[in-house]
Subunit: 213 residues, 8 copies
Amino acid sequence: KRTGFPEVVFCEGKPDAFLPKIFQHLVVADGRALGTRASEHQAGLVREVLPQASYDPVSRILSVAPEVPVSLVGHVAVVCAGTADTPVAEEAARVAEFFGSRVTRHYDVGVAGLHRLLDQMDREDGIRGANCVVAVAGMEGALASVVGGLVSVPVIAVPTSVGYGASFNGMAALLSMLNSCANGVATVNIDNGFGAAYLATQINRLAVGGSAS
Amino acid sequence: KRTGFPEVVFCEGKPDAFLPKIFQHLVVADGRALGTRASEHQAGLVREVLPQASYDPVSRILSVAPEVPVSLVGHVAVVCAGTADTPVAEEAARVAEFFGSRVTRHYDVGVAGLHRLLDQMDREDGIRGANCVVAVAGMEGALASVVGGLVSVPVIAVPTSVGYGASFNGMAALLSMLNSCANGVATVNIDNGFGAAYLATQINRLAVGGSAS
Amino acid sequence: KRTGFPEVVFCEGKPDAFLPKIFQHLVVADGRALGTRASEHQAGLVREVLPQASYDPVSRILSVAPEVPVSLVGHVAVVCAGTADTPVAEEAARVAEFFGSRVTRHYDVGVAGLHRLLDQMDREDGIRGANCVVAVAGMEGALASVVGGLVSVPVIAVPTSVGYGASFNGMAALLSMLNSCANGVATVNIDNGFGAAYLATQINRLAVGGSAS
Amino acid sequence: KRTGFPEVVFCEGKPDAFLPKIFQHLVVADGRALGTRASEHQAGLVREVLPQASYDPVSRILSVAPEVPVSLVGHVAVVCAGTADTPVAEEAARVAEFFGSRVTRHYDVGVAGLHRLLDQMDREDGIRGANCVVAVAGMEGALASVVGGLVSVPVIAVPTSVGYGASFNGMAALLSMLNSCANGVATVNIDNGFGAAYLATQINRLAVGGSAS
Amino acid sequence: KRTGFPEVVFCEGKPDAFLPKIFQHLVVADGRALGTRASEHQAGLVREVLPQASYDPVSRILSVAPEVPVSLVGHVAVVCAGTADTPVAEEAARVAEFFGSRVTRHYDVGVAGLHRLLDQMDREDGIRGANCVVAVAGMEGALASVVGGLVSVPVIAVPTSVGYGASFNGMAALLSMLNSCANGVATVNIDNGFGAAYLATQINRLAVGGSAS
Amino acid sequence: KRTGFPEVVFCEGKPDAFLPKIFQHLVVADGRALGTRASEHQAGLVREVLPQASYDPVSRILSVAPEVPVSLVGHVAVVCAGTADTPVAEEAARVAEFFGSRVTRHYDVGVAGLHRLLDQMDREDGIRGANCVVAVAGMEGALASVVGGLVSVPVIAVPTSVGYGASFNGMAALLSMLNSCANGVATVNIDNGFGAAYLATQINRLAVGGSAS
Amino acid sequence: KRTGFPEVVFCEGKPDAFLPKIFQHLVVADGRALGTRASEHQAGLVREVLPQASYDPVSRILSVAPEVPVSLVGHVAVVCAGTADTPVAEEAARVAEFFGSRVTRHYDVGVAGLHRLLDQMDREDGIRGANCVVAVAGMEGALASVVGGLVSVPVIAVPTSVGYGASFNGMAALLSMLNSCANGVATVNIDNGFGAAYLATQINRLAVGGSAS
Amino acid sequence: KRTGFPEVVFCEGKPDAFLPKIFQHLVVADGRALGTRASEHQAGLVREVLPQASYDPVSRILSVAPEVPVSLVGHVAVVCAGTADTPVAEEAARVAEFFGSRVTRHYDVGVAGLHRLLDQMDREDGIRGANCVVAVAGMEGALASVVGGLVSVPVIAVPTSVGYGASFNGMAALLSMLNSCANGVATVNIDNGFGAAYLATQINRLAVGGSAS
Ligand SMILES: Nc1ncnc2c1ncn2[C@@H]1O[C@H](COP(=O)(O)O)[C@@H](O)[C@H]1O
Ligand SMILES: Nc1ncnc2c1ncn2[C@@H]1O[C@H](COP(=O)(O)O)[C@@H](O)[C@H]1O
Ligand SMILES: Nc1ncnc2c1ncn2[C@@H]1O[C@H](COP(=O)(O)O)[C@@H](O)[C@H]1O
Ligand SMILES: Nc1ncnc2c1ncn2[C@@H]1O[C@H](COP(=O)(O)O)[C@@H](O)[C@H]1O
Ligand SMILES: [Mg+2]
Ligand SMILES: [Mg+2]
Ligand SMILES: [Mg+2]
Ligand SMILES: [Mg+2]
Ligand SMILES: [Mg+2]
Ligand SMILES: [Mg+2]
Ligand SMILES: [Mg+2]
Ligand SMILES: [Mg+2]
C-alpha cells in the first residue's frame, strides 16, 4: 500500500495450502483481492473460503471485488493483435481496472488487417484518446510499431508467447518490440500483462494529475 | 544460362587477381556482367580492364551493361522501411532489372509513418500493381507484415542488418518476418537483396506468361 | 474472400465452444471449410454439427468439401525428405488443393538417397513440370538446396521440427534453408505447411495466367 | 512536429555528403537541431556550415541550441551504474533536455555500493522527486530492479553494452531488466538512451499537465 | 569419503529398483544418507526399507539422519530473493547442514524490497557474520550483486529457473550473476543448490581452521 | 611423436618472438615442420631463419618440407562446396599430406550443381575410392549430407564460416552437419580443416593396415 | 544392404499400425531386425507378431536376433561418463554389435574420478586396444577430451542430454566436444548413440582389413 | 579499503585524460596501484607521470609496486590449459599477489596431456597444497572438471575466449564449467582473471585464519 498499489497475487505455482489464506488475508486487510495466472483448480480452492470470488478463465484472473466499486479514472487503451492474445490483453485490462484506471479494449486488430486497427483510432473512446496504450501481440509483434507510429502517448508493448516454430515462445515478438522503429515504445516481459498494467496505471495517474502511486 | 538467368558475381572476398578476369570472361561470353557486394577498390580493378563498367556505391553493384539495353517486363515492387535499408533494396532492384524485370521503387516507407506507405499503394505504378513485392526492412522488420496484409501477390521479405543492440545484426527482423501474421510472405537471408530479386524475377516471369527461367 | 482465398481456420488452441460454430459459419457462407492443426477431439466436435466433415489424422486437416468439387489448375509439387515430414507436407498439399492448385506429391526423397529424388524429376507429372515447388524437410534440411539446384521455378522451403538434439526443434533446418546455396529458395516458418501452400498457390495462379488472388 | 517532438538525427552511418544538409535544413525550419551517435568527424563537417554547433564527445551528441533557450519543465531523473555507462546516460539526459524536460543526473551509483544510490534518493532534487526515472546500466543491469523497488514512478530501463564475456554486448543487462522483480520497470533497446529520453519526456509532460506530445 | 564429504544421491531419474538399495548401502556404511531432487514417490520407496527416512517436499531432500547428530560449525548464510526460490535455497541449506556447516536462513529478501535485506545484515546471526554467503535468485538475479556489494566474504550465486518468458528458465539470472558488478561473486549452475552448499562448506571449513575436506 | 603424428603449430596469435624459434626447434628435431593459420607476416619472420620454408596464402599453411619426401599412402578425398571454402579444404588436404595420407581434391562441387559432384564420384581417383572423405562446406552445409549418402566410408564434415547473415559465422553449417540425415557423418569445429585431416589420417592409416598413430 | 549395413528402424514417433509391419518385413528379408528409441508399448506391439523380439528398456533397443549369431570382429570401445549416460552408451554398443563389431563397455568413468578411467586403459580388453572409441557424456562432456588425449585412434564423441540448467539439453556437452583440445575427436548429434556406432563400425571394419561397408 | 582490498583499475576504455590521474591518486593514497586490461599505449601515458610503473604485456597488467613489498600468505594455485590462456592466468596470478596471496603457477597443463597436469599435483608447492585453485581454460574448458576431481579445495573456474568457431568466444568453456561433473567448482565471467583472484584471495585469507577482507 506504501506504493499506492494494492498487492496482486502471482498464483502460478503457489502451494494449495497457502493460496486461500493469502486471499483471506488480503480481503480482511483491504476489502478486495486479485490474483493473476490462477488455475481453475486454484479458483475452486479460494471460493471454498471466499464464495464471492470470481474467476475469469480467459485471463486466468481470480478476484474479490470491493463492496463499493472503485471509480475508474483517466484512460488506458489495451490493444491486441489476435484472438489468441486475448488472455494477456485481458490480464492487462483487468489489472489496470483493479488499479483504478478506466480501460478501453481494442482486440483482434493485428496489422494483417490494418483497417480494423485504423477504425479503432479516432472513434468515440478510441485509442487516440488514451493517456497510455498497452499493445499486446505475439508472432512478429508488429502491432507495437504500428500503434507507436499512430499515437503520441507512451506505448507499453507486451510480447506474447503466441505462435510456433521460429516465434521461439515469444522471443520473436520481444525482439521486434525492443527494436521498434516507432518512438515512444517500451517493452515488458513476454506474457506480462500485469507488468504493463502497472506501468500504464502509473502513467495514467500522472496524467490525470495525481501522483503515480 | 541453363537456368535462364545470367550469372551474377558475388564480389565480397574475391581475390584481386581474379575479379577482373571473371568480369572479362562474362562480358566476352554474354555482352554484360553484374557483381554484388563489390568494394570501391574492386570497382577500380575491374574498370582498369573494362572502362565501361559502372559502380553504384550505395548498392555496391558493379556492372557492365549490354550495348542494346534489355527490355524490362512485368512489375516487381521494391519497398524499404528506412533510408538505411536502401543499399539492400537497391541491390534487389538493380539485380531484378539486370534479370529483365521492370521495377518500381518505394523507399523509406517504414510503418512508423503509415501514411507514406499507404500513399504508395494505389497511385500510378503503385505497389498494388506488382506481380511480386520485395519488402526490405531492418530493426523490427514490421514492414513485411503490413505490406503482406495489403497486397495479395507474393511478398519476398528481406531482413537487413540495420539496427543496433537487440537487433542482433538482423536476427530480430529475420524472426519477425518468419513469424509474419500476414499470408503470402516468404523470407530470404539477412541482407540478401540478390536472392529476393532472383525469386521476384522467377515469379514475375511466370506472371507475364513466360517460364520462370 | 477479398484476397481471393477462402479463410482457413487455425484450430490449435481454439476453445471447444467456438470451433463448431466457426465451421458452421464458414460452411453456410462458403459451402466449404478447412482447418489446420486440428486434433482428433476437435474433429469429433465439428462432426457433431457437420457430419460430412472429414478428418485426416496425418496432416491434422479437418475439412468440409464443397458439393461440386473445385477444379484444380496449374501444378504445385510438394516434396518431402522423410516419412516423418509427411504431416507438414500433407498439410501443404491439402491446403494448396483447397485453394485450387493441382498438386503432385513426392515424399520420402531425402538427400541421403539421391536417386529417389532424381527419379521424381522428369517422370510424368514430375517435379520439373511444376510452377512452384514446396520443399519440406527437418533435420538438416538439405533437400531445399538440392531441389533448388535442380529446378528453375521458385522453391518455398518449409523447415520441420523433425529431428532431435541439435536440430533444436527445427532451427537447424530453418538456418540451413535460409542459407541455401541454390538460387530461388525462400523460407517460411518451421512446420508452416499452410503458409507454403498459400504462397505456392499465389505463384501457381500467376503462372496459369490469372491474378494471384 | 506533428508529434510535438522536434526531429532528432540518427547520425551513425549517415553519408558525409548528407549530414550537414540535414542539420542546415532543421536549423532553418526549427531554429535548432540535435543529432545522436555523431562522430568527431561528423561534428567537424557540420561545424563547417554551422559554426555554432556544439559537440559532446562523451554522449556523442551534436547540437545547435536555439537562440532563446527552451524552458525546462517537470523532473526526469537519469541514473547510471558505472562511469562506463555515462555516454548512454548522457545521451538520455541531453535528449530529454532538448525535448524540454528538466533533468537531474545521478551517475556512478551502481548497486555494488548501495549507499551511493541511497544517498541520491531523498536529497534536494533527488531521484524520489522525479516524474520518471531513466535507469542506465550494463553488466548485470541490477540497478533497474533496485531503483524500481525504491520509486513509485515509471522506470525506463536502458541496458548498455558495457561489460565483456558473458555480458554478450548488453544481452545480460537486457534480460535482467526484462525480468525485473520490481514493479513499474519497462525496457528499451541496448544503448538506446534516445528512446528512453523520448518516453521519459512523454511521461513527464503528462505529469506536468500537458499532453504527451 | 576420501574427499571428506559424505556421498549425496542425485535422485532425479534414478530407476525405482535402485534407489532404496543405494540408500540402504549408504546407511549401512555411513550411518546416514541424503538424496537431492527426490520425488514424493521415491521417498515412499525408500521409506519402505528405511522407515526412519524423512522427506521435505519443498527442498525435495530425502534423508536419513545419523543417530548422534553431527555438530555444526562456522557460519554459512543462505539468502534467497522470493518465496518461489525457497526450494533451491532450502536444498542448499540442508545439504550444507548435512556436510556439517552451521546455516542461517534469510529468505524472501529480494531487492525490490531492499529494507528486508538490509534488516538481515547486522542483526544477531545476520548475513554479515557468515564465512560464506549462498545467494539464490531467479528472474533477474540482482540479489547476488547487491549481497556481493554488502559483504566481504565469498558469495556463491545460484540462479534459479523461477520466472517466465525472457527468464529463459534461469538464463537471465545466470548471465546476471556471471556479470555481477560486485566483487567476490562466483556462480554455479541453475537450480544447483547442492553445488553451492558444497563450495560453501569447503570455504566454511577452511575458515574455521580445518581443511576444506 | 608418441602419437605417431608430427607436431603441428597453430600460428594464429603466437607472439612474433616465439614463432621462428618453434619452427627451428621442430626442424632440428624432426627435419620438417608445419604451421596452420599463419599470416603473411609470420611467414616472413620464419623465412628469415628458415629460408626454405614455403607459405601458401590460400590455406595459410607455412611449412618446411623434409629433404626426402614422405611417401603418401591410402586415399583421403577432400571435397568442398564453393571456391570460398577452398582455404579450409586446402588446410585439410595439406595437413593430411603432411601426415602421410595420399589426398585427392574435389573442389567447388556444391549441391546447387549436383552433376559436378556426381562427376567426381566414380572417375579415376574419384571420391568413391577413398578410405575417408573430408567434406568442407559453409552456408547451409548440405554437401556433407549428400556426400554421406553417396559413400560408405566415414565422412568427416567441416563446417566453414563462409556465408553471411543467418549463417551466423558457420553455425548454420555446423548444425546442418550435426543433423545429417545420411549415416556415417561426424563433425569437427567450424573451419577446423586441421582436425578433419587428423581424423582422416587416423582412419586412412587403419585402412591401409597400420595402426592409427 | 547396398551400404553393407542392415537397416535400423528409428521407432520414435512411428505410428502403431506401421511398426510391427516394418519389423516383419525386415525379419523376412534379412532374418533379423533392430529398432532404436522404441517404447515399452511399441515393444509389446512388435512382440505380438514377432514373439522372439527382445526389448532392452535401458537402451530402448528392440531387436530380433538372427538364428545363427553374427560373429563379431575387431574392437570398438564404448566409454561413458555417468550412469545416466548408460542408455545412450548402450544404444551405441548394441547397434555396433548388430553391425558386427566386437564391443567392450567402460561405463561410469567420468573425469571427476580420473583413476576409474585410467584403470580401464591398459587392462585386458582395455580402451587402449580399440580401433575406435565411442565417448558418451552429458553435463560438461569433458570425457571426450580426456579420452582423446589418451588414445591415438579416432574418438567419436556423443554428447548426451543428461544434466540440467545450463546444460541446455546437451548443448554444453556438444559445444565442449566440438572444441576438444585433444586431437582425433569428431562429434555426432546429442544422444545419437546410433550414429556413433555406425561410424565406429565403418572405422573398425576398415581396420580389420575389410571395406567400410 | 573498507573491503580490505586495494582498489584495482579496469583500464579498458578509460579515456586517456583520466587514467594517469587515477593512478597518481591511488599511489598518493595507498603507495601502490594496479590496473587490469591496460594497453601498451595506456602504460606509456601512466609512465609519463609515474616512471616507476611497470607493465606486463602478457597479462596487460600495469602496476606501481609499494616501496616495501607486501608479504604474501597462504597458497593459491593458478592452473591453465594452454599457452594461449596465459594472459588470463597471469592476470589472476598477479592480482592475487597484489592482494597479498602467495601464488604458484601451473601453466600449459591441458587435459589432452594428462600427465603434465598430474605431475603438478603433489610435487613441492604443487596444486594439492593450495587453499584455493584458479583453473583457467578456453576451448572446451575440461581442465576445471579434471582439477575439480583431483582437489578438495574450492576451484574457481575461469573460462577464456581462447578458441574459434563453436567456442563462441568462450561460451563453450563457460557452459562446460557451469556443468562441471566435479564437486567444488564455481565459475566467473569469461576472461575474468581479476574476479577469480579476488575470490581466491578471500578464500585464502579465511584459510590462513584472518578475515576474508
Ligand atoms: N549478394 C549475394 N548474396 C547471395 N548470393 C549471391 C549474391 N550475389 C551472387 N550470389 C550467388 O553467388 C553465385 C556466384 O558466386 P561466386 O561463384 O562465388 O561468384 C551467383 O550465381 C549467385 O548464385
Ligand atoms: N540514438 C538513437 N537511437 C534510436 N533512435 C534514434 C536515435 N537517435 C534518433 N533516433 C530516431 O531516429 C529518427 C531519425 O532517423 P533518421 O531519419 O535515420 O535520422 C528520429 O526521429 C528518432 O526517431
Ligand atoms: N537413434 C537414431 N538416431 C538417428 N538416426 C537413426 C537412429 N536410428 C535409426 N536411424 C536412422 O534412421 C533410418 C531409418 O529411419 P526410418 O526410415 O524413419 O526408420 C535408419 O536407416 C538410420 O539411418
Ligand atoms: N579485469 C577486470 N574484470 C572485471 N572487473 C575488474 C577488472 N579489473 C578491475 N575490476 C573491477 O573494476 C573496479 C574498478 O572499475 P573502474 O572504477 O571502472 O576502474 C575495481 O574495483 C574492480 O572491482
Ligand atoms: Mg509514438
Ligand atoms: Mg498478402
Ligand atoms: Mg533454383
Ligand atoms: Mg517501482
Ligand atoms: Mg563482496
Ligand atoms: Mg554414408
Ligand atoms: Mg587422440
Ligand atoms: Mg573437488
